[in-house]
Symmetry: C2
């Protein structure tokens, strides 16, 4: 059962699950921290032991069929080194190998789940896409917050998962740690979703929040970059394409619409001035970059990303610069909204654990 | 899969599920409306056909192993009559019987799921409690928004479900159509919930909302009663016990704490004056009746229901008179909140469909 149980004093039957972790950046490294910190709870509450048998970054990989020492990998990464530097002899069967790509790691290891968090590529989805394909072809489940492969190959990947009888879970692709997809897929079951609206992009939320406080766009962007919540090249975020990618995933996974990026009308926030925000405020509205899907008569959806002046009573109007949210307007479940306050990337990293537990600890 | 699929032009393999519906009041009757309205979608999207083989109200029951005509039952109920008046000969095998209690109906029918929405009793949980026990002993699943049996016999009922290998699902017991329990059980998996706060009671939300607009307590209560959102005897709501019952269910089902009503410190809203609300407002706060659980060092929780002045930035502060909400403060998933706008009882009724689809349509 997924609900925590009161301690019973006896050890439950333990199940060992072997993981390959691909990508050890901001998300992947924190994910290892979570696995370390949660080992006791996962064992006691769910009877689960997760062994990371392989871990890869862009410079190489470490592997140990008996389970890597995760603290050692975290130490290496924090010191600016690579999993490839995993010391031979540290454990009898563990070793690192420079230049070993994640795809080769997946192909040569026996494991149950690929945890994929390599950098997002919206050009070709690589290296994530090939790794996901290879893992599923081997019968492994995949959990990932990596948008790229899902945006580019949603139908192919979900069909492959079904064909192979494995799970492909990606609850972290849309709004960080917010279970926006789970809410849509599971809790809106049986409903017709008339409309959804989402604020899925932290960078633009932060910039608009700063602008609401009187900072012009260029300064707000600089502040976001100084905070580390905007990239050096912020165009993907501020021009609305990150939100559009997330909307494509929502359309496919929740709305049952085989949408691609070309189906989304996209407008960013780069053209917004302080005067625009002040005019909106004078009218009781707050401007947010909203990703929306509105149901058409034929059952498909009109997809749009753009600035919208939300009235004060709108569930997303009050979300601050470190929040993301979603609203489902339905026929039978009323209007259901959800939001997350995500002040650092741990919740996004933890989505891979949530997905793992959907596979191994669901009632 | 629970995600809707694009139409493929071919009929999926159909599975027929036999339901007994006990309780045909506000919730149960609307549930039949939902089953009627959704039959086509459930068949096309999930390959599911739900046959209601028995339906009971306080005056009797109707049954038909081939499936009752639900529209006929709804017509009878709307005309102030009973399921017992279901006309013999309407279908070859269907008939009504005055005085047949739901327990006897369950015992004599072959069915897969009991859908239980008889009136809530917090004294003895009846008639729901006995019906749930009988159904599970027969190997039937149970879906219910009925708080009474869960508050009074949580451990017994969940143990019975486990022992019998059946599902007992009750996502509608806590906050109408809001999937507060699902969010806690499934999407907080692996987390330590440091604190939760909920506004689970519509009546008090409505009254406090009216008071915020300047109506004194007695007039706000009268307005709620005129609106049909407060009982003639409103004490269960306004004295906080309804919220406390819901907190007990959250504690058991999400927090893993075997709490009972005696563990909750309860204060209602009957002592609140307009001056209290004005003072709060002057301090930038809004008074709400909050049900909260705060984690203690030993892993159990301090449970409390009472008026709290929430600061403007609190996710629950802005909820209006027809909204309910919940906030989970966690260690690894940040702070996640969810709310529902529920303007009439359909979402609460629909929770039984959500639970059914958790059983029969989950991926």
């Amino acid at each position: 059962v997924s609900a925590p149980s009161a301690p019973t004093g006896r050890e439950p039957t333990l199940k060992t699950v072997r993981l390959v972790v691909s990508g050890l950046g901001n998300i992947g490294r924190r994910y290892l921290d979570i696995l370390i910190g949660k080992a006791g709870l996962l064992r006691a509450r769910y009877g689960l032991v997760f062994h990371v048998v392989g871990a890869a970054d862009s410079r190489g990989a470490a592997f140990d069929p008996a389970g890597l020492d995760l603290a050692e990998i975290v130490r290496l990464k924090k010191a600016g080194r690579s999993a490839a530097d995993y010391p031979r002899g540290y454990t009898p069967s563990g070793r690192g190998r420079a230049g070993l790509p994640p795809l080769a790691l997946i192909e040569q290891l026996d494991a149950d789940v690929l945890c994929e968090s390599t950098p997002v590529s919206l050009d070709d989805g690589e290296p994530g896409l090939s790794c996901m394909r290879a893992a599923m072809r081997k019968g492994m489940h995949v959990v990932t917050p990596n948008k790229g492969p899902l945006v580019l190959a949603y139908r192919e990947l979900t069909a492959l998962a079904q064909q192979q009888g494995v799970r492909l879970l990606f609850c972290g692709t849309v709004a960080g740690g917010l279970p926006a997809i789970n809410l849509g897929q599971r809790d809106m079951a049986g409903a017709t979703i008339e409309r959804l609206e989402a604020l899925p992009n932290l960078t633009t939320s932060y910039i608009l929040d700063q602008m609401t406080r009187g900072l012009p766009y260029a300064e707000a962007l600089a502040a976001a970059q100084a905070q580390g919540c905007a990239e050096a090249d912020p165009s993907l975020d501020v021009e609305g394409w990150d939100a559009a990618n997330k909307l494509v995933i929502l359309a496919n996974s929740v709305l049952g619409m085989p949408a691609t990026l070309g189906d989304v009308a996209v407008e960013g926030i780069t053209g917004l001035t302080l005067a625009d925000l002040e005019t909106a405020k004078a009218n009781g509205r707050t401007i947010k970059l909203v990703a929306s899907a509105v149901r058409r008569e034929d059952g498909s959806y009109t997809l749009r990303v753009g600035p919208v002046g939300l009235p004060a009573e709108h569930p997303l109007a009050r979300l601050g610069g470190q929040q993301m949210g979603i609203v489902y307007h339905t026929d039978i479940y009323g209007t259901i909204s959800a939001a997350i306050l995500e002040e650092e990337p741990t919740p996004s990293s933890a989505t891979m654990l949530r997905d793992l537990l959907t596979i191994y600890a669901a009632p």
